[in-house]
Structures are given as C-alpha cells and as structure tokens.
C-alpha cells in the first residue's frame, strides 16, 4: 500500500492490482481507532499478520473487549485458516485410505452434518465440519450480530471447537508431514490449543495433539 502511505490519512485498502507483498501492508491501527463494526476481526487479523508466531499476543484481547465476541471472532478466524489445511488434505487424504475420521485408535468420529451422524471419510468429515461451522457461525439465528452475542449462542462455540479440533488431530496422526508444514506456516494448532485452553472451550483430555510441548521447545530454539 505504497499509495496509502504517501497520503496523510492512511487508507487501508487492498486495491485491485495490489501485489502480494503489499497485501494489507499498512501501518497498524490501534483498536481504539478502529471505528468499524468489524473491529475485532480487523484487530485479530492485524495481530496475526504482524507476527503469526506470537500466539500470546494474538490471543490477548484489547481492554474492555466483550469476551463472547472475542471468542467468536477468533473461532471464525480459525475456521477460515483451517480452509488452508483442508486444501492440503484434499490432495493427500483420500477416502480410500482414510475411510473414517480418526486420530488415535481410541475414537471414531461421526460426522454431525447429517441428519443421522454418519461415518464420513476423513476428508468429507473435514469439509462438512468446516461447512457446518461456517453456517453456524454465520447463522442469523444464533449470531445475528458480530458486536454483541447472546450467551446461549456463545455456548455453541464449544462444540464447534471440539469438532474442528479433530481436523488438527487427524492431520497430526495420519498426515504428519503435511501437518508440520502447515503448522510451521501458520502456528494454527498452537494458537488453537492455547485459545481453547485459555477460554475453557475444550477439556484438556480432548487436546490430544501434543503441540504445547512442541511449542515450548520451538520457542526455546528460537531464543537460543
């Protein structure tokens, strides 16, 4: 956004023709100055662009932020970024080899997108879960507004978290190289794990991807 930087007031736009390196390449805007109704999303995305590895910072809400909205917007962002993982899985995870949605041998996950939950192949489970989450999180019934959310709707976030987490776990246990590549590009599983832990959206027992230790070692490496 070289043009935006030339003019006195920064106009934060990705105009047609913008090169990849200039995408959203503008000065950070403080949360107080964001006067749009999508300020929370803007704030989160801004923090991710700034440094996607700084999970702590990304998950740190601005002062006075409504927690329901904060959680909601983060979950939207997770689902959106999970599309990237799904794209990768579409190439590798085919219904013949991964006939069921599994992580460890302990569980077979049934796809909740259907009237009667059924044993979808892993890739279908992934897609259906993401599509279902997109519908739920955009539902006019449960989430008519992105600035104030009913408590009853906030309660729905937990089940969405549990379901989408299985995508991480499947990728981790069955497509490890793919998962690692993706994780290094996005730090998404780390962020997600920390997110659900921080806001108690999932029980620790369900967090079966051993990512937090990983993270600690990685952080140790970077510091070293």
């Amino acid at each position: 956004m070289k043009m935006a930087n030339e003019t006195a007031p920064i106009i934060r736009r990705n105009r047609p023709g913008t090169k990849n390196k200039d995408w959203c390449n503008w000065e950070d805007e403080s949360f107080e100055e964001m006067d749009s109704t999508l300020a929370v999303q803007q704030f989160i995305q801004q923090a991710i662009r700034k440094d996607f590895t700084n999970v702590e910072e990304i998950l740190n809400p601005p002062e006075g932020q409504d927690e329901g909205v904060w959680k909601y917007e983060h979950l939207r962002q997770f689902c959106m970024e999970l599309n990237g993982l799904a794209v990768k899985l579409q190439v590798e995870c085919n219904p013949e080899t991964c006939t069921q949605m599994t992580a460890t041998e302990q569980w077979i996950f049934l796809c909740a997108a259907h009237k009667t939950p059924k044993e979808c192949p892993a890739i279908d489970y992934t897609r259906h879960t993401l599509d279902g989450a997109a519908c739920l999180l955009n539902s006019n019934k449960y989430f008519p507004s992105r600035v104030s959310i009913k408590d009853s709707s906030v309660a729905k976030l937990g089940s969405v978290c549990r379901r989408v987490y299985r995508i991480f776990s499947h990728a981790y246990f069955h497509h490890r190289p793919l998962f690692d590549t993706y994780e290094n590009e996005t730090y998404l599983c780390r962020r997600f794990t920390q997110f659900v832990t921080k806001y108690n959206l999932m029980s620790k027992d369900n967090l079966i991807v051993p990512i937090m230790e990983d993270q600690q070692t990685l952080e140790g490496e970077s510091e070293a």
Partner: protein, 783 residues
C-alpha cells in the same frame, strides 16, 4: 447447554470427556453478566448504524406514501377541474337554450302578429347583434355570464324551465340533460325514462296550439340535437340512440296531432300551411340573417325530421348552414371533448403512473442513443424515429398498441377540419399519445426489464464466508450465484434454497457447495456462458477452473476431486481480474505481476497471449473484452491509464484518455473497466469517486461523473446496456440510467472492514436480480 448435550452425541464422540462443560458455561455466564454494562465503541456504532438504517427505511416508506398522496391529490384536482368545466358547460348550454327560446318566442310573435311585441323579449335586430357578438367571442361572453354566480345561473335556469314548460318540453329536456350528465360522469344512461316522458309530454302538447307547438318543438329539437351531438362525441352511443329514438317517436306522434289540429282548424291541406309558413320564414330570413339556421326549418314535421337528419350529419363536421348556433356548438363540442379527455387522461395517468418514468427514460435513452452515434445501425435508427415524433411511433406500434390510440387521433383530425381550438386540443392529444399505456409494448427490449420499474430491495442475504467477499458472478440462467472470498473459498448459492428467517424481511441462503483449492484470498471470478464452468483467480497466482456442481446438490455430499478441473498457471502475482468471452471459450486475466493474459481453458497449452505495457504504467487492475469488437480487449492500470489491445497481435491499439481526465494526483487508480455490451464505449470506475465513459474509437471522454462518496470499486452493466450498477467503498451500490447518466436508486448495502466496503456488483444476465459483495463477508441479492 441443553442443546449441547445432543450436539456432543451427534458429534459422535464415543467416550467420556464433556464433563467439564457445565461448569464452563456457568463461568461464561458470569463473565457475560460482568461484561454486560460496558459499552464498547463498536457496540455503540452498531446500535447507531442499525438505528440509522431503521430511520432510513422509515423515511423511504414515508416518502413513498407521500408520493402516492401527492399523486392522489393531483388526480382529485384534475377531477375537480373536469367537474368545473362540466358545470360551466352546462351553464352555457342553459344560456344558449334560453337565448334560443327567446328568439323563437320573438319569431313566433312576429309570425303570429306581424309585429315585434313584448318589451321583455329582445327585439330581433338586438338579438341579431347579440348573436353576432356571441359568434365572434361567444366563449368569453358566455363564460362571463356564467361567471356572475350561481344566483344568476339559478334564475336563468328557473326562467328556462318556465319557457320550456310553456312549450311542454321541460321534463324531456331536463331528462336528457341529466342523462347527459350521467353519461359524462361515466354512469349508465337510463334509456327507458325518456321514452316514458316523451309520451307524457306529447299528451301535454296536445293542448297547445298547433303552430306554436311546432315552433317550440323545433327550437327544442334543435337544442336537443345539439345535446345529442355532444353526447355522441363524448362517448355514450347509448345515450345518443335513446335521444334520437325519442325524438323520432316524438315527431311521429306530433305529426299525427299536427295533422289533426290542422284539420280541426279547417285549413285545407298541409301543403298550404307549409307554403304559408315557408313564405313567412323567407321574409324573416331577409330581416334576420343571424337566425337563418333557426328560420330554415318550418312547421312541417317532415322538414323538422329532415332538419334533424341534417343535425345528425352536422356531427360529421360540416357546418355551413347553422352559422350562429353551430359556431357556438362547435366550441362547446370541443370543450366537451376537452373535458372528457382530461378525465380520461387523469384516469390513464393514474393507471400508468408506475410505468411512466421508465417509458420516458427509454424514449429519452433511445433518442440520445441515436444522437450519440449516428453510424450505429438499425436498432438505434429505430430509436431515433421512435423518439422523434408521436406519429412515427404509432407506425411502429405492433397491433396490440393501436387500439387504444385509434380514437384520439380521429378526434384530433375532426378538430382540424373544424379549425376550432385545433392546436390546443391536439396538444392535449399529443400528450395523451405519449402517455399511452400501450407504449411499452413497442419495445421488445423492455419486456424482460420489468424489474427496473420498481425499486430494488434486498431479498437474500448470503452469509457463510468468514472474510470479505471479493467477487461474485451469476449463473447465466438459473437463480444461482457464485461468490469468491478472502477466506480462500468460493461458494455456490442457490437462491431457491432458502432458510426461513425469523422476522427478517430478507431470506437467508446457505451455500450448496464450497470450492476449496486456493491458498490465500480469492480475488476474481468469472462464470462461463454455459454456466457449467467457472474460473477464479487468487492471491496464490493461480487461476482455477471449476466444474460447477448442480445447484440442487446435497451440501454435505462426499468430496468430488473432479470439481476442480484444472489450474492455469503463468502469473507470478495475485490475479486481480478475470473476464470471460460470451461466445468464444476465452478467458482474460490480469495480475499484480503487470501482465494481462489471454487463455483458452481446456486445451493443452491454454495460454494464448500475454499483453504487457511499460512498467511505469503500473499493474493492470481490471480487464474486459471489448464486446462489440471481437478482436479487442480493454485493460486499465494503476497508473490510471486504459489501453485497448488487439487480441491477435497483442499490440496497443488505442489509449483511452483516462489519465488526462482524472485528477492529477497519483492516487487515482482505476478499479474497474467494463465494456458496453453493444456500444463502443468503455466505462471506468475510479478511486477518485468518478465513473467515466470513453469512446473506443477516438479514446476521447464522453462523460465523467462523481458517482459516489468514496472510491468506486466495481461496475456491472445490464445485458441490454441500459443500466449501470456501481459499488463503492462508501458502502452503497447505485443503479444508473445509462442514457441520462442519472442515479436511479441508491442502496446502502454493506459495512466497512478497514476502509473497504463493497468489492463487487453484478447483474443477473436474465432474471431481475442484482447482487453486491462486501468486505463484511456478506453478499446480498436484490430483487
């Protein structure tokens, strides 16, 4: 939490693990209670925005209501005017009858006693003079007399009634009059009544002396004839027939009585009486030129009947004999017509109110299309002739339209013959012709465009994307559309599969398919003319080719890898624009790498050509095929220049003067360029809030307008090239009449994310749908 129980079961987690959930919720609720009283800036903004939207809506509703009421007022005023005219006319008629009666009485007196008597009766010469005055400016004198007030009018009426009673025609006359009034008011004439009255009046007549009776009858006849004359011209043939019938029968009856009376009087034969009267009338003629018409007729009933026929023929327009009376007559006739026209016009206007603006717009558009480009062949030529004159337009009217026209011009011609107020009445008629409801039938192109006559309102809200929707495209036929979003996906929407929404006026639609392959935001989209394939360009530098699943697919069907049919790779930066040719299987793309590329998807080496410009021109922002030249493409650049390229050679053909005509500062890039579907015109959407129109042949600017409050991001043109849709970061979409370059409607549609609001707009190629894509992750469809 109650719902979460089954939810977790459905999740199919076969084991423990959701034990802590109840506690979680409790803490959340506590949190929620703590948070509640705090007002956040976005919260307040949201509240204000919703309030404002509500106010806007109420205001527009109120405005609609106001417009309706105003129209109603106009109509009622028109009706009142019509009534006043009617009243005036009736007063005049009475005056005339009174006057004629006086004349008759004077004449009768003269015939009987050979002298001018009664001082109360005006003397014939005076009469004559008055008559002449009336002839010259009858309208004025009459209206002045009628203007003296209701008192005079009532007196006159009373007097007239008296006179009529003397000759025994009171009831009939009054009856005819009321019948006429009724017919004027569009009520049904009661034909039976007058017949009954006739026989009554005839019986009364029996007592009257013969000659007087005859003369009186003649006077009455004449007036009745005039009345009938008017009646015929107004519209109720019924009424005319009734009147005529009654007159005929009345005459016949009186015939017999006359004969018997004559016999009783001892006069030898009818012939003698006739001769005598004729002579007398000849004498009168000499004295009384102005009264020729009245004197013409005689006591003989045959002649009376003949005269009656003559009166009938007078309706045709020839008025040689009745100089005085017919002079007035014609004036009145015109007036009557005028009234009825007024009434009809108001009725029509009322009916045609909704469609009229469009019709005018179309007309004007056709006119200026003709004016803009003379060389532009058949269709425009038609337009010119259509707009140039009402007559020419009538020639072009297909059979359906003619019926309603037929009567008016005929009446117009009649007026011409009579040379009375012709211009004025024709003027009215011309107006009528223009406003005729049948008009739209003329324009085939207008047939599928009915949607534009009404205002567009949001009907479907497409929620499912997680981030800004960058592009959208309609299926060529079905009510189906595709959206491309920064959330890396494309989604397919079937507008016929809606989710019933609570209390909201708009329907929610859930996507039927999600296309995943792009790594990064999807920025551009194009739908093939068959509606079977689509192409999307993204920040990952690729163009993906998709086979679009059927619109009735189960959204949760199993994954089909064949939906992605191919990937076009050659660009090295974000693909920002795509355009598809309507008949050739060719695709244009423009990218942040500075190139525009032409593809033929599906063949082995799909890249056909690459178009480049000097690096100082920046990168292409948008590209389109020149729709009326199969060998040209048009591309706009961040430098705010626009070039037309030859598709075969890749050479620049022309530079449109977009840069010269835009603001000097460097920040004015072009965000979108589109080509008019039929005319050699390119339309550009600028960051400086302008929309500009350029001639593809000369490169010169045709028109420039400040179109929005913020940068214009997107343009779409309807398939017929009559309307333009623009989207802007000012959160609104606007619909423009391409001819008048005026805004037809503005709709506030999306909210801002950073400084972005609306990324794309689209017209459905066939159905009355328009759509907008927003940075707020929503797409909206308007009907």
């Amino acid at each position: 939490m109650i719902e979460d129980g089954p939810g977790s079961q459905h999740g199919g987690q076969l084991g423990p693990g959701s034990g802590g959930l109840g506690m979680v919720t409790k803490s959340q609720q506590d949190d929620g209670i703590k948070q509640r009283p705090q007002y956040s800036m976005p919260g307040i903004l949201h509240f204000l925005q919703t309030e404002w939207a509500r106010f806007e809506m109420e205001r527009s509703q109120w405005e609609v209501e106001r417009a309706e009421l105003q129209a109603r007022i106009a109509f009622l005023q028109g009706e009142r005017k019509g009534q006043e005219n009617l009243k005036q006319d009736l007063v005049r008629r009475i005056k005339m009858l009174e006057y004629a009666l006086k004349q008759e009485r004077g004449k009768y007196h003269k015939l009987k006693y050979g002298t001018d008597l009664n001082p109360e009766d005006l003397k014939p010469p005076t009469f004559d003079k008055e008559n002449k005055d009336d002839h010259i400016d009858g309208e004025i004198s009459l209206s002045t007399s009628s203007g003296t007030g209701t008192a005079t009018w009532r007196q006159g009426r009373q007097l007239l009634r008296q006179y009529l009673q003397e000759i025994g025609y009171t009831d009939t006359i009054i009856d005819v009059r009321s019948a006429r009034v009724r017919s004027l008011l569009g009520l049904q004439t009661q034909s039976g009544d007058s017949d009954a009255d006739i026989s009554q009046s005839v019986l009364v007549n029996g007592d009257q002396p013969n000659k007087r009776d005859n003369q009186g009858k003649r006077a009455g006849l004449k007036k009745i004839g005039n009345l009938a004359n008017d009646n015929a011209l107004i519209d109720t043939e019924n009424a005319v027939m009734t009147t005529f019938d009654f007159l005929n029968s009345g005459n016949v009856v009186e015939d017999e009585e006359d004969l018997s009376d004559d016999n009783e009087d001892g006069i030898a034969a009818d012939d003698e009486a006739e001769e005598r009267l004729e002579r007398a009338s000849m004498k009168l003629k000499g004295d009384n030129e102005g009264l020729t018409g009245l004197d013409e007729t005689d006591a003989d009933t045959e002649e009376a009947l003949a005269e009656f026929h003559f009166l009938e023929s007078e309706m045709g327009g020839s008025s040689e004999k009745h100089e005085s009376s017919s002079g007035e007559d014609e004036e009145w006739v015109v007036d009557q017509r005028h009234i009825s026209e007024l009434k009809e016009q108001y009725k029509k206007e009322r009916k045609g109110k909704k469609t009229r603006p469009t019709r005018h717009a179309l007309q004007a558009m056709l006119a200026s299309l003709g004016g803009e480009d003379d060389g532009f062949t058949a269709g425009v030529g038609d337009g010119q002739s259509l707009a140039s004159s009402g007559e020419a337009r009538e020639d072009d009217i297909p059979s359906g339209g003619q019926i309603s026209y037929a009567r008016k011009p005929m009446m117009g011609l009649q007026d011409d013959d009579e040379n009375l107020d012709g211009g004025l009445v024709l003027g009215e008629l011309a107006g009528l012709t223009v406003n005729n409801e049948a008009d739209p039938v003329n324009y085939d192109i207008s047939a599928p465009k009915e949607g534009y006559r009404k205002t567009w309102s949001a009907k479907y809200t497409l929620r499912s994307h997680f981030d800004g929707v960058r592009a959208l495209a309609f299926h060529p036929v079905e009510p189906v559309l595709l959206t491309a979003s920064e959330d890396h996906t494309l989604k397919l929407w079937n507008l016929q599969k809606t989710v019933p929404a609570k209390k909201a006026a708009s329907l929610d639609v859930e996507p039927v398919y999600t296309f995943r392959a792009h790594v990064g935001p999807v920025l551009s989209l194009a739908m093939s003319p068959s509606g079977e394939q689509c192409y999307s360009g993204g920040m990952d530098t690729t163009i993906r080719c998709w086979n679009i699943p059927k619109s009735d697919i189960d959204p949760y069907d199993s994954f089909d890898p064949n939906v992605l049919s191919g990937t076009l790779e050659a660009h090295t930066d974000a693909v920002w624009g795509l355009s598809i040719h309507s008949s050739k299987n060719q695709l244009l793309s423009c990218s942040g790498d500075g190139t525009v590329r032409l593809w033929s998807p599906g063949i082995k080496s799909p890249l056909l050509n690459t178009f480049t410009v000097d690096s100082e021109e920046g990168v292409p922002t948008s590209v389109d095929f020149v729709r009326c030249d199969p060998n040209q493409i048009v591309a706009s650049y961040t430098s705010s220049n626009t070039y037309i390229f030859d598709m075969e050679t890749g050479a620049q053909v022309l530079m449109l003067e977009t840069k010269i005509n835009s603001d000097a500062s460097g920040s004015n890039q072009i965000n979108r360029v589109i080509s008019h579907p039929t005319l050699p015109i390119s339309i550009t959407a600028h960051e400086d809030r302008h929309i500009r129109f350029f001639d593809n042949n000369t490169g010169k600017i045709i028109h420039s307008m400040v179109a929005h409050l913020d940068s214009v991001t997107s343009l779409a043109i309807d398939p017929n090239g009559l309307y333009l849709l623009s989207g802007s970061h000012d959160c609104s979409i606007r619909l423009w009449n391409l001819d008048s370059k005026t805004c037809v409607q503005e709709i506030t549609s999306h909210r801002k994310k950073f400084e972005e609001s609306i990324h794309d707009v689209a017209f459905h190629p066939q159905k009355p749908y328009i759509a907008s894509a927003g940075a707020d992750a929503l797409a909206k469809v308007f009907v």
